[in-house]
């Protein structure tokens, strides 16, 4: 029935077609998102005013957007780094959680000379994220167990670990709320004097540039690209496939862990049960929006961060759930995926009318 639509794969997709379908997909996604908001009772004027003007064109809104962008850039890079070698890291959130746990631990308990606290905190949170992805990585490389389900399930385990700590050891002794004590001021990231924007944004941007150099200019980037595009050919050419995959995936885990560290040391200063919400979908959406380019991730993260700021407004004024942002991310991701169809395939509908 549907086979009357005759498709053939395009071997060479011209850049203008690629961009046109990308823009069309984005427009479709945003359009559907607007419709959803309208249906939820948000007026059109408010959508334009609150969600665009307030978020991107006022100093406060922009500052908030920039603040939230720091961890989003990091999870976007994390998703892009593992996607580069075709490893599905769908457990970004779990690594963010463990990064946040590690950061809280260092911020609360680490002994030693004060100036070392912050670098140590960032380092340990990155290491915690990397450790959290070690098991799926090892099982995939050694026994070919699919990483998709494993990384997802480990997210739930990580979240339960957070709850275990927050309802146990780190419970607020005064109120009994599941909120850890505040971390040491010496372990916090410096404020830049613009809203609550902190040094984490600079850190994230610098890492993005470094990753761009790494993936675009060095031998290691070539290995990673080759493995992602054709593992068998990379193996047969004698490229170090296993170490390229290992490095990229550990880097992915470390970046997500670092995002957790930046959230704790940059904005929250303590651990709660909400801080890593939805980072998996955000990371994947950002990486996909950026077409897996590290520099593109910065731009895409700013856009998604704007959605978060807008989501905060919606929450306050329309009592919409945080889930609105997830819904919009899902809609945009799906629209982009659907739109790609029109650039990947040449579509011939002339045989459609032949249906009886």
């Amino acid at each position: 029935m549907l086979d009357r639509i005759v498709l053939s794969r395009r071997q060479n997709i011209p850049w203008h077609l690629r961009s046109a379908t990308f823009i069309a997909g984005l427009a479709l996604g945003l359009g559907i998102s607007c419709l959803i908001l309208l249906a939820a009772g948000v007026s059109f004027d408010d959508i334009v005013d609150d969600l665009i003007t307030q978020v991107f064109f006022t100093a406060d809104g922009l500052a908030q957007t920039a603040t939230q962008a720091a961890p989003l850039i990091l999870v976007g890079l994390s998703s892009a780094a593992s996607a580069k070698v075709r490893f599905w890291n769908i457990g970004l959130e779990g690594q963010v959680w463990w990064g946040a746990i590690a950061a809280t631990w260092i911020g609360l308990d680490a002994p030693g000379w004060l100036p070392w606290r912050l670098p140590l905190l960032l380092l340990i949170s990155a290491a915690a994220g990397a450790i959290w992805i070690l098991l799926p990585l090892w099982l995939k490389l050694r026994y070919r167990v699919s990483e998709v389900v494993l990384t997802l399930l480990l997210t739930n385990v990580a979240f339960l670990s957070v709850q275990y700590l927050l309802f146990g050891r780190w419970k607020d002794p005064a109120t009994g709320f599941p909120v850890s004590p505040m971390i040491d001021p010496a372990a916090r990231l410096a404020q830049l004097g613009w809203g609550s924007v902190h040094a984490g944004l600079i850190l994230a941007a610098v890492i993005a540039v470094m990753l761009w150099v790494l993936f675009d200019r060095t031998r290691f980037g070539f290995y990673a690209a080759a493995v992602g595009l054709n593992t068998d050919a990379a193996l047969a050419s004698g490229l170090p496939v296993v170490s390229a995959v290992t490095c990229c995936v550990l880097m992915s885990g470390a970046l997500s862990g670092l995002a957790g560290g930046v959230i704790v040391a940059g904005t929250e200063y303590h651990l709660t049960t909400f801080i890593a919400d939805n980072y998996t979908f955000s990371g994947i959406t950002i990486a996909f929006l950026a077409r897996f380019s590290p520099l593109g991730v910065v731009a895409a993260a700013l856009a998604v961060s704007g959605m978060y700021t807008a989501g905060g407004t919606l929450k306050v004024f329309y009592s919409l759930s945080e889930a609105t942002v997830v819904l919009i991310e899902g809609v945009i991701l799906m629209s982009l995926l659907l739109a790609r169809f029109f650039s990947l395939y040449r579509i011939d509908l002339t045989h459609w009318r032949a249906v009886r």
Binding site: D3, R4, V6, S8, R9, R10, Q11, N12, R217, T218, R219, F220, G221, F222, Y223, A225, A226, L229, N230, D232, A233, A234, L235, A236, S237, G238, L239, P240, R346, D348, H351, A354
Partner: protein, 510 residues
């Protein structure tokens, strides 16, 4: 049972295609082509790889829908938009890559394709019909056997039975002898004659001249997507003339290389390699390869050739045995270490494990020497040098359509193979493992590949040529061995080997 209507022996045209054109992604693969087969004849459709012969038959069976053109069955214009419609019109095709579900049994595959309309409602009926039809046409097969346990020749029988049970009167066979030993091929060709004698129209897609002259009534020749010779009776036809029609120009015969064997370069002892499914791919194989010789390994595909090639380059692990490269044991060495010893590889599927289609020509050329030649300070890539070297290679090897920046996937099959050769046949080459190096190439590209292999061997390299193309083995090798069920079952100097001798050894294959 389906009653097959038997039209007159010298009947009219059974299936005709007129003015068929078809493009894939803007590339024309059929250009105003035509073809006609009559009832009761075996009609050869001759052409080189890429001439469009499979494509036009896929149009006839509804796998592809042509951009323009008319299909006529029994003189009536008919629209065929899917394989099932073709089947309803009595057209059946045995594809070169069999369309059988490997994990299903023979009966299940028949039940899958032939439903109540063919009188089959359950597995028992399917099994009975397989047995009945099999004994009627002389193709016995166990209906309860799983397809993955059958040999290639047996799978082909299942495909033919399936097509006949579905009631095909026009039977199309796509390169049916490519996967068979000489003796099996002869018996298959005899079987197609029998089909024609019972009134079927049989189309035999082939690139082998021998099959045209000896085993068909009429021939149509295609070249570059066009029909260059249509409906020509084969009696008294000149093979040389047919070859000229097929290729379009005269091709110089391959010069014969005299062997000057030097010191042993590759020694394999008692090698055993497992298949992915757990069975034995290579089973206690030993060989010795010296510089200046080409050892041809003949055999029906699927007898462990892939595992042997993979294990030699280092992609598959040997469960037993040893490999020595230039006197050093390498059985546990990495691919990179083996390549460092001068081992090079032309894989059977160039875009699966040779080239990276979505990387540029320059990157594909550089990827085996990244760590040394193409690295600068701190692991930064020397892109300028990659581009310069690529430009030089494109000129030297005359790779048409290539620029250093162009993606490898956009090259034609022959030019992609040239790209691969220009990377693998380099100055450090000591042992070349070439696995079906000309599969899917046209005659000119084949000639280039064979020339490049011979040149490198004349310069002292050793070559292990693994191929299921017997002609390639016979014309290129200086020494020939036959591989069957994972081991070498016979060995001859090239001048003593004949297709018959090799075929007899290949008979007992998996």
């Amino acid at each position: 049972m389906i009653a097959v209507a038997v039209p007159d022996r010298e009947g009219g045209v059974a299936l005709a295609l007129h003015r068929v054109s078809k493009s894939f992604d803007g590339r024309k693969v059929l250009d105003d082509a035509r073809f006609a087969v009559r009832w009761g004849e075996v009609h050869a459709l001759l052409g080189e790889n890429g001439a469009g012969k499979s494509t036009i038959m896929n149009v006839a069976t509804g796998v592809y829908i042509a951009d323009t053109g008319v299909t006529e069955i029994d003189g009536v214009a008919t629209r065929i938009a899917s394989p099932i419609e073709a089947s309803r019109h009595g057209i059946g095709m045995v594809h070169q890559h069999f369309r059988l579900v490997n994990r299903f049994t023979v009966a299940e595959n028949i039940l899958l394709a032939a439903g109540p309309e063919a009188g089959i409602r359950n597995l028992d009926q399917a099994a009975r019909l397989v047995a009945a039809k099999g004994s009627e046409v002389g193709l016995g097969i166990d209906p309860a056997a799983r397809v993955c346990d059958l040999s290639v020749a047996e799978r082909q029988r299942v495909e033919i039975l399936k097509v006949l049970i579905l009631g095909a009167r026009i039977v199309i066979l796509d390169e049916p002898t490519a996967v068979l030993s000489d003796q099996e091929a002869t018996s298959l060709l005899r079987f197609t004659r029998g089909l024609a004698d019972t009134g079927h129209a049989v189309v035999l897609i082939t690139h082998k001249l021998r099959e045209v002259v000896g085993h068909s009534d009429r021939v149509t020749v295609m070249r570059g997507g066009r029909t260059v010779l249509a409906d020509c009776p084969t009696t008294g036809l000149d093979e040389a003339e047919l070859a000229r029609q097929m290729i379009g120009e005269r091709v110089a015969p391959l010069r014969h290389l005299e062997a000057h064997p030097g010191a042993p370069r590759l020694v394999v002892r008692d090698l055993t390699v497992a298949r992915a499914d757990g069975g034995k791919g290579v089973d206690g194989l030993s060989l010795e390869l010296r510089g200046g010789e080409i050892l041809g390994i003949a055999g029906v595909g699927g007898n462990g050739q892939q595992q042997l090639a993979d294990c030699l380059i280092g992609l598959a692990t040997a469960s037993r045995g040893e490999i020595q490269l230039m006197g050093r044991p390498v059985v546990a060495a990495s691919v990179a270490a083996r390549r460092g010893g001068g081992l090079r590889m032309i894989p059977s599927d160039r875009f699966a494990s040779g080239l990276i289609g979505d990387m540029s020509v320059a990157e594909n050329l550089a990827m085996t020497h990244l760590a040394g030649r193409y690295s600068r300070w701190k692991g930064f890539l020397a892109r300028g040098r990659m581009r310069r070297d690529a430009r030089a290679a494109i000129t030297t090897f005359n790779i048409a359509g290539a620029t250093p920046e162009r993606r490898a996937r956009l090259l034609s099959g022959g030019n992609a193979q040239k790209l691969l050769l220009s990377r693998e046949v380099d100055s450090e080459l000591t042992v070349l493992v070439a696995h079906s190096p000309t599969r899917g190439l046209d005659v000119k590209a084949c000639q280039f590949v064979h020339g490049a292999i011979q040149d490198s061997v004349a310069a002292g390299a050793a070559c292990l040529l693994i191929s299921d193309d017997l002609e390639e083995i016979l014309s290129l090798s200086t020494r020939i061995a036959v591989m069957s069920r994972g081991r070498l079952v016979g060995e001859f100097p090239a001048r003593e080997a004949t297709a018959e001798k090799l075929g007899l050894l290949m008979m007992n294959h998996a």
